[in-house]
């Protein structure tokens, strides 16, 4: 690993900037993501910031099943991120497609859609409908430890 890569990884682990992508969620996971920013959980104290652009992001927070309309957009957003970039599948829908597995608008699980672009993508799964904010913090902390 080059020095530059080490610096990048240090920066990512020190303060992961997160870009939130809704690929067809019911908004419940998104509301729980907002909870993370409220004073009760306040992930900014842990260095996690919501980024305004995928180009600034160290992690994509993907909620919802990947719909037919969202699929090319999710892939494009992943291409635009600076690598290394974590992909966090947040909630039952993003992890497994859940009850929408046979739905007509379903275009593939989030992890497969991402792996089409980058077979070595680092993907982590936080199940739940919606996951608790504690679970999200624990999941991201665990993923950062393993990097």
């Amino acid at each position: 690993m080059s020095v530059l890569d080490k610096v990048k990884l240090w920066g990512l682990k020190k303060s992961p900037w997160v870009y939130h992508v809704n690929t067809g969620a019911c908004n419940n996971c998104d509301i729980e993501v907002l909870e993370l920013l409220t004073p009760r959980f306040d992930v900014e104290r842990l260095g996690v910031l919501l980024a305004c652009s995928p180009r600034h992001a160290d992690a994509l927070l993907v909620t919802g099943i990947c719909t037919r309309q969202a699929r090319p957009r999710l892939q494009e957003i992943y291409r635009q991120t600076a690598k290394p970039c974590l992909v966090v599948c947040l909630g039952a829908c993003a992890c497994t497609a859940g009850i929408f597995h046979d739905a007509w608008h379903f275009a593939g699980p989030v992890d497969e859609v991402i792996r089409e672009v980058d077979p070595d993508a680092k993907i982590i799964y936080i199940p739940g409908c919606p996951p608790k904010p504690e679970a999200m913090i624990a999941g991201i902390a665990k993923a950062l430890q393993d990097l």
Binding site: T67, R68, Q69, D102, A103, W104, H105, F106, A107
Partner: protein
């Protein structure tokens, strides 16, 4: 004094006249009114403007040989829900749009057009609303004969 539930229904019956094909009241605060599709726009205008009901939403259903559209109106003062239902055969899925007289029906009629394939004649803006851009024309996901192969 504000009119009570029975007075409201009486007024509705007077305004409706002999237009409805059928009239069903399964519960005190729920009225199903079947109308012929050629009367639908005028009946919706009457409910909305003359009777004073609020347009809540509409539903399109594939009921086998026919397609059914149910417009849900509410009369909030007495808690009455009025469902105006009309049917059209699948071979001729054209019903009059009520959007020219009830503007709130705009998007829900476009959605029914997307999902069930009901064509709303006279709709001011009948573009695709919620299906994906690359979705094939003429495939309606909520029709009974549509198989989910994705």
């Amino acid at each position: 004094m504000a009119e009570d539930l029975e007075q409201t229904i009486q007024r509705l019956k007077e305004l409706a006249g002999d237009v409805p094909l059928g009239w069903d009241r399964p519960r005190p605060k729920r009225v199903y009114i079947a109308v012929d599709k050629k009367d639908a726009r005028e009946f919706a205008r009457m409910l909305f403007e003359d009777f004073g009901a609020r347009f809540a939403t509409a539903t399109g259903t594939d009921i086998g040989e026919e397609l059914e559209v149910v417009y849900h109106f509410e009369c909030d003062a007495v808690g009455l829900v009025i469902n105006m239902r009309e049917r059209t055969p699948k071979g001729d899925p054209v019903v009059p749009s009520i959007t020219p007289v009830v503007p709130a029906a705009d998007w829900i009629e476009r959605e029914m057009n997307d999902l069930v394939g009901i064509v709303f004649d006279g709709h001011p803006d009948p573009r695709r609303l919620i299906l994906a851009d690359d979705w094939p024309d003429g495939v309606y996901p909520l029709r009974r004969d549509k198989k989910n192969d994705a």
